[in-house]
């Protein structure tokens, strides 16, 4: 199970040229600034760019191979595509939209039932509505369900949250996470929002001016100091924890990982379940002695791995916490005062309220 994509697409003044081997499971995020060719890459994979050249296979199926003059037209590729603007059919209601793709797949090849996709996206109450009577978030959920109901081998999502405001985004994101945990379907997710990527992606492809600058596990790439991703205000690390307890009274949950136990705002996940959290570099402070009498709930033993300059007067510190990586963004002066150097043992402090889960 894997996706092999060696694709080129030339425009006047812009060229997409990628050579990628992607895992055939989990969420792969294609991340990069606007105009870097993310959407073009996705359209090439879908076959919507007839002028793309190269080679593309998904699992054992070859969708494009120029050396064999092979180009499988879009409608014969078992894929689901969600456009940025949902693109629901305005002349059909929600239920008819969902049926459109499903009906065109032979019954024997249907792996996702209509009920399943309706349940996963929580849209049962929307079925009789017309698309123009839906909110932006609802529209995207219907579009995702519509794509799922066509039992694709791969789901292609083109910035499905970009057109939504923060509240609508927060409404749709949990469904995308549910999709991730409940369906064994590879997802290619295009985004320019680092918070979405950090929450959803297992694998990450960084794209810049049509070229791949890095590709690998998301958790690794997000903290690699040689990449721009691990710098600036939005930089942060992703940790995978196991929920170990809930304190209803204080509205806190505890979760553990190899680096220790953390307290965070209460979560609805059950004890024993895995939880992905994001710790932003600007929310991590460093101290040489373990502090007492502090409001900070999470104090973890850490070792400095590397230090790299960030914006003027600031440095990004990469930390080893029980084998996992955390980032801390501190001032250059603090780094000097603490005499930070690779190998130094210290404590990383994270405010409980700053953890994004």
């Amino acid at each position: 199970m894997s996706i092999r994509a060696r694709l080129q697409r030339n425009y006047p003044g812009f060229a997409l040229d990628v050579d990628l081997e992607l895992p055939g499971r989990g969420v792969t995020a294609v991340f990069g600034p606007s105009g870097c060719g993310k959407t073009t890459l996705l359209r090439c994979v879908a076959g919507l760019e007839r002028r793309a050249t190269g080679y593309l296979s998904v699992d054992d199926e070859v969708w494009q191979d120029d050396t064999q003059q092979r180009f499988v037209p879009v409608h014969r590729r078992a894929l689901g595509y969600v456009f940025q603007d949902a693109s629901l059919f305005a002349h059909l209601n929600v239920e008819q939209n969902l049926n459109y793709g499903m009906q065109r797949v032979p019954a024997a090849l249907r792996r996702v039932s209509l009920e399943q996709s309706i349940d996963l996206l929580g849209i049962a109450h929307l079925l009789p509505r017309q698309p123009d009577a839906l909110s932006g978030g609802e529209r995207q959920r219907v579009a995702i369900a519509r794509a799922l109901a066509s039992s694709p081998r791969i789901l292609l999502l083109d910035e499905p949250l970009a057109a939504l405001d923060a509240a609508r985004k927060a409404e749709v994101l949990p469904y995308l996470e549910k999709l991730h945990s409940e369906l064994d379907m590879p997802v290619l997710y295009v985004s320019h929002a680092i918070d979405e990527v950090a929450r959803l992606a297992d694998h990450l492809v960084l794209l810049e001016s049509g070229k791949v600058t890095a590709s690998g596990y998301a958790d690794d790439l997000l903290t690699r100091l040689d990449l721009s991703l691990a710098h600036g205000d939005t930089a942060g690390a992703v940790l995978t924890l196991t929920v170990s307890g809930h304190d209803e009274q204080d509205h806190l949950s505890t979760a553990s990982f190899s680096g220790g136990v953390m307290s965070l705002p209460i979560h609805d996940k059950d004890i024993g379940q895995r939880l992905r959290i994001r710790v932003q570099a600007r929310d991590v402070s460093l101290t040489l002695q373990k502090q007492s009498g502090t409001s900070i709930l999470n104090i973890l033993g850490a070792t400095v791995r590397a230090i790299a300059p960030d914006s003027p007067g600031q440095v990004m510190v990469s930390l080893d916490v029980g084998g996992c990586t955390l980032l801390a963004r501190i001032t250059e002066r603090s780094a000097r005062t603490l005499s930070l150097a690779p190998g130094l043992s210290l404590y990383a402090q994270i405010k409980g309220v700053a953890i994004l889960g």
């Binding site: 409608h75 894929l79 456009f83 059919f89 065109r104």
Partner: protein, 223 residues
Amino acid sequence: MPSSADLTAVLLTARLALVTTVLLLLIGTPIAWWLARSPSRLKSVVGAIVTLPLVLPPAVIGFYLLVLLGPDGPLGRLTQQLGLGLLPFTFSGLVVASVIYSMPFVVQPIQQAFAAMGERPMEAAATLRASPLNAFLTVALPLARPGFITAAVLGFAHTVGEFGVVLMIGGNIPGKTQVLSMAIYNHVEALEYQSAHWLAGGMLCFLFVVLLLLYSRGWNRRP
């Protein structure tokens, strides 16, 4: 009251407009699709040709059709060889002339509807396993419905009102090629203003109601 000859002219006109509209929807749809979608450079040429009847004096269209379809014209020879005989001064001749005369009124609204929906619905349909033809029938046509309604109404109404082309190619044969506008002309020539009023007033009311329906929201709303 209108005479029975007048009623014959009314029915003939209605039949002509109906046949013309149906034919134009069939011919005009692929042309409109091509004009809205094709990246071809020929597009501007074809677009100009299709729009020509909009600006050409009807007498000019009629004259050239008469020449082309006549016994010595290339199309006339063809129709004779095919055993269809000569088309001028027949109902079929009128249909051919009307199709050309009303072409832009049908093609343009459909073309605009196709252009307005953009590529996206067709792309979305393709990602949902619809073949191009299937996507055209199940997505593009229903989405362009308002364009089709406008096209049908304008094509029909415009054909009902034609005069110059009919005069040249159809003549004025009662029951065969004498349409409404010819009948009105005859009445006016004979100073039968009362009869002319019945027909002209009737046509005015009919076309006004048609346009009123077209512009009222209920009928032409997007699906």
